[in-house]
C-alpha cells in the first residue's frame, strides 16, 4: 500500500514526458468545467421538489401536509418548494447543509422513518432540528422571500401588524418563533420542551392540557 502511494506520488511529481504543457493546461481546464458543472448539476437535481418527493417518506407524510397550505396552493400561484425552505440558498451554506444531509441518506438506507408510525415517532425530533436551524440563522429561508423591509403592515390585519411591529421589527423574535407548523402539521407539542406557548405542557402541578384531553377522550397512550 505504502509502495503504491509512493509510486503514485512519484508519477504525479514527475514532469510530463509525452503531453505538452498546452494540452495539460487546456485539458485540465476542460475537465474542470465538466467536473464542476456536473457536480453542480447533480447538486441542483437533489435540490428539487421532485427529488424530495421521490421517496415515500417525504411524499406520503410531509408533502401531503404541505399541499393544503398557503405555501403550496394560493391565489397568486407562487409556490415554495421543499428546498426553498429547507436548504440555504447561498452556496457555502448549501454545501454545509448537503453534507449534513448525508445523515438523512443513512436514515433512508436503514429505514429510520419508513413507516407512518416511525415517522410520527420521530416527528418531534425532526421538527426540532428545523426549528433550531431556523432560529440559529434568523429564519433566513423565510426571509429569502419575506423581507421585513417590503412588508407593508398597513396591508395586514391589525392583529398581524401589531405582532410584527412588536416582535419582528424589534428583532425580539424571528419568524419561526411564532410561525411553527405553517407548512406541516405540528408534532406532539406536549413533549416539546421549551415550547409552552399555549400552556399545553404539564403545569407545575397536575397534568398538562394535552395529556388531560387525551385521557378525557380515552386516548391515553399509556
Amino acid at each position: 500500500m505504502w509502495g503504491f502511494l509512493k509510486r503514485l506520488w512519484w508519477i504525479i511529481r514527475r514532469p510530463s514526458a509525452y503531453f505538452s504543457l498546452g494540452f495539460l493546461t487546456m485539458g485540465g481546464f476542460v475537465m474542470g468545467i465538466i467536473f464542476w458543472g456536473g457536480f453542480n448539476t447533480a447538486l441542483e437535481v437533489t435540490n428539487t421538489e421532485a427529488f424530495c418527493t421521490s421517496c415515500h417518506e417525504m411524499r406520503d407524510n410531509v408533502f401531503e401536509e404541505l399541499k393544503p397550505t398557503i405555501h403550496y396552493s394560493n391565489r397568486s400561484g407562487v409556490r415554495a418548494s421543499c428546498p426553498d425552505c429547507h436548504v440555504p440558498h447561498n452556496w457555502t451554506n448549501k454545501i454545509a447543509r448537503k453534507m449534513q444531509a448525508s445523515k438523512e441518506v443513512w436514515g433512508k438506507i436503514f429505514g429510520t422513518i419508513n413507516t407512518r408510525e416511525k415517522f410520527l415517532e420521530h416527528r418531534l425530533e425532526l421538527a426540532q432540528h428545523e426549528w433550531a436551524r431556523l432560529e440559529a440563522n434568523d429564519s433566513l429561508e423565510c426571509r429569502n422571500c419575506h423581507s421585513d423591509e417590503s412588508m407593508d403592515i398597513t396591508r395586514q390585519s391589525k392583529r398581524a401588524a401589531d405582532a410584527h411591529e412588536r416582535f419582528l421589527f424589534t428583532g425580539e423574535k424571528t419568524c419561526i418563533n411564532c410561525h411553527k407548523g405553517i407548512a406541516h402539521q405540528l408534532p406532539d407539542m406536549a413533549a416539546a420542551e421549551g415550547e409552552d406557548h399555549a400552556g399545553l405542557l404539564a403545569p407545575a402541578h397536575g397534568e398538562g392540557l394535552l395529556a388531560s384531553t387525551r385521557s378525557y377522550l380515552g386516548l391515553s397512550s399509556d
Binding site: T69, D162, A190, H197, A198, G199, L200, H205
Partner: protein, 160 residues
Amino acid sequence: MKHLRLAILAVPVFLASAVFAQDVSQNQVATLRNTAPLDQEGEATQIPGIVNTDIRQVRNYPDQPPLIPHKTDNYQVDLNSNKCLTCHSRTAVEVSQAPMISVTHFMNREGQTLGAVSPRRYFCTQCHVVQTNARPLVENEFVDVDKVIDYVKAQQGGAD
C-alpha cells in the same frame, strides 16, 4: 272496440301526467341543488369570504360563545397542538394581547373550578366560529334578549 276502450283509459293517464309535469316545474322547492336538473350539474356558489376585522362582535345573549373575528384557516387544533391557545391561553395573553379564554373553560361539568382548562373545552371550534360575508339564505328573525325583556315588561304593563 278494444282500441276505443284503450283510448278512453289513456285519456286520464295522459291528462294526469301533463298536470303532474306542470306541477313539478312550478313547484320550486328550495334545495341545495336549487333548480338544477338532476342530470346536470348546477353552478357552484362562490365561497364567501371570512370576516377578518379583529373587531369583536356583539353577543346576542350573554351565554353566547363569542364569534371569532379573524381567519382561522389551517389552524391546527388536534391532540398534538392547539393553535388557538398559542394566543388565547392564560399564559399567552401577555405576549399576544388576545382575550383570555373565559373562566367557564376552567370548570368541569359540575361547575367546580380547575387549575387548568377543562378537556371538554379543548376543541375551540365546537362552539366558536368565524363569520363570513355570505348573504343570508332566509330572513333572520332572531330577536335580541334586550328586546325580549322590553317586550315582556311592556306586556306586564310597564311595572318593574
